[in-house]
Amino acid sequence: MSVQTVAQRARTTEREQASTQVMQRRVANGASLVLLIVLAIIWVLPILWSIDTSLKPESETTAIPVSWLASHFTFAAYITTFATTGLFRWYFNSFLTSAIISLVTIVLASMAAFAFSRVPFRGKNILFWIILAGIMVPGQILIVPLYTQMQSFGLVDTYWSIILPQLASPLAVFIFKQYFDGIPYELEEAALMDGASLFRVYWQIWMPLAMPAVAAVGIFAFVLSWNNFLLPFIMISGTNLMTVPVGLSTVQTSFGIRYAQIMATAVLGGVPVLIVFLFFQRQIVQGIAGTGLKG
């Protein structure tokens, strides 16, 4: 047997191995794709079914056996929903409070994070740890004292009772600090040589550089406060000041068993956040991934 044939055979087995590996990988990829498609269908089914129900005539929603079809599809449920609930008002309340919370969170947290990242002041480490410890405080257990506090300020049943407790986010400080820590010093030094004040350095140099962090924190804070249920639920009793999640929680009992209408309300309640999500998915995901970085 010549040397050449041995080498050739070795090469063929290598090639065969490679091709079986490619085959295996293809099969595995195919299998995981099929599995993912099945899971994805299960995941979207509840949303599709709600939309489907909301478009049916009320009398056909409770048909047995269940069917995706109806004699005809109609927007009647949406029209009644807008006419009979305070949905527009709830959108406005949610938008107003979430926008304020989001903006103030950005300013407060980025200023604090700037000092923690860039200014070597005394007591900095202790303060940073005190703020980080806030992440450990479970929000749900604060509802009773927060209510008493707002009562003593005379702010129950006002926007303030929703806004004030959501302004100081330790997590936002953390995300900003992570970001500031990663920006090189040189720029700042150049500006300081020019005699710029630290506040100008913060506002005109760091903040524009930190736009990705600003977006992540801002959008994340917006969605979190838009979706906050418990706080506005205990603070607000008047229909006029309710946010979307609180207002929606009242429709099940007030509509009775009118499922097309209930589902139309659910769809209308979910659409604004889903739109925000589709546009700003990256920022929301970064906001969450920021949580993961602290490990």
């Binding site: 900095k124 009773v144 506090q149 407790p165 969605v223 999500f277």
Partner: protein, 314 residues
């Protein structure tokens, strides 16, 4: 003393003086930047924590009556003797023990699948993450409808397959399971995204060279991905347990503000809410909050220590 050394000494005191002044200025500037946050943080986070502790020692009611009626530890004694509180704590515990592994393992599995080189990655990521951004009330409305007997979609599919209907909303044995399934659907996106972010930080070369050495997909997952994800996994478990121990709103809303069949879904936080806001005993409710708070702290610190040790040993 010579002229020169005198001059040197004078410059030195001047410099240290200037240094000190600048130091003080830096301190002031630093505090100035932190102060706005710190004030809001102290008033609306630290103060409620202290106020809650104070309230738990008084016969405090929601109208403010009894705010000076000091009870000592009586509220705590009453809570510990209350069978309903223990039952609610049991519901919370059961929910946590079942939902945490599901929410961690399913999220990891989804992330592993989506992280493979498959088409339409972004679409899958969107699908699994989207429910997380829905308000809890929307989620509860949808699932209350899905779980209906007869004309509900889930029972409709079950009977269509020749299986028996399940009393998701009426059977005390499955009601909590109904809450858990809904919670997995709603919140899995959070853990899923954290896992995906963790996987992105694993160097691609590691997987490539292992693959060249003949390691199959499963071996790579077991020996590369999972060990390198241990930091992320520990964090997810800790965050998940803290979140699960606070379960309340989705269960409360799924059952239209009730306690579920035979109190089977009344969690600790729901019991705190009812004590504070329907029987108006906010002092008693604060004592319950503190017991839960301390429980959550112990569990999370315990987990932190345990998971850290395990990681160091691994």
């Amino acid at each position: 003393m010579s002229e020169v050394s005198l001059q040197a000494a004078r410059t030195q005191t001047a410099t240290t003086g200037r240094l000190k002044a600048r130091r003080r200025q830096t301190d002031l500037v630093g505090i100035g930047f932190v102060l706005p946050f710190l004030i809001v943080y102290a008033v609306f986070l630290i103060w409620p924590v202290i106020l809650g502790l104070r309230m738990s020692f008084f016969n405090w009611t929601i109208s403010g009556a009894g705010a000076s009626d000091f009870l000592g530890l009586t509220n705590y004694q009453q809570v510990f003797a209350d069978a309903d509180f223990w039952h609610a704590l049991g519901v919370t515990f059961l929910f946590t023990v079942i939902s945490t592994p599901l929410l961690v393992i399913v999220a990891l599995a989804l992330a592993l699948l989506v992280n493979r080189a498959i088409p339409a990655k972004a679409l899958f990521r969107t699908v699994f993450f989207a429910p997380f951004v829905l308000p809890v009330s929307v989620v509860a409305l949808i699932w209350n409808w899905l779980y209906q007997p007869g004309f509900g979609l889930i029972n409709g599919i079950l009977t269509g397959l020749g299986l028996k209907e399940v009393g998701w909303l009426s059977d005390a044995n499955v009601a909590l399971m109904a809450v858990i399934i809904m919670t997995v659907w709603w919140t899995i996106g959070f853990n899923f995204v954290l896992f995906l972010a963790g996987m992105q930080q694993i160097p691609v070369e590691l997987n490539e060279s292992a693959s060249l050495d003949g390691a199959g997909a499963w071996a790579r997952i077991r020996h590369i991905t999972i060990p390198l994800l241990s930091r992320t996994t520990s964090l997810i478990i800790i965050l998940q347990v803290i979140a699960s121990l606070q379960v309340f709103q989705q269960a409360y809303l799924l059952f239209n503000g009730s306690d579920g069949p035979n109190f089977s879904t009344r969690s600790a936080v729901q019991y705190i809410y009812e004590t504070g806001f329907t029987t108006f005993r906010v002092g008693l409710a604060s004592a319950m909050s503190y017991i839960l708070f301390i429980l959550i702290l112990i569990v999370s610190i315990g987990q932190f220590v345990l998971l850290n040790r395990e990681r160091r040993n691994a």
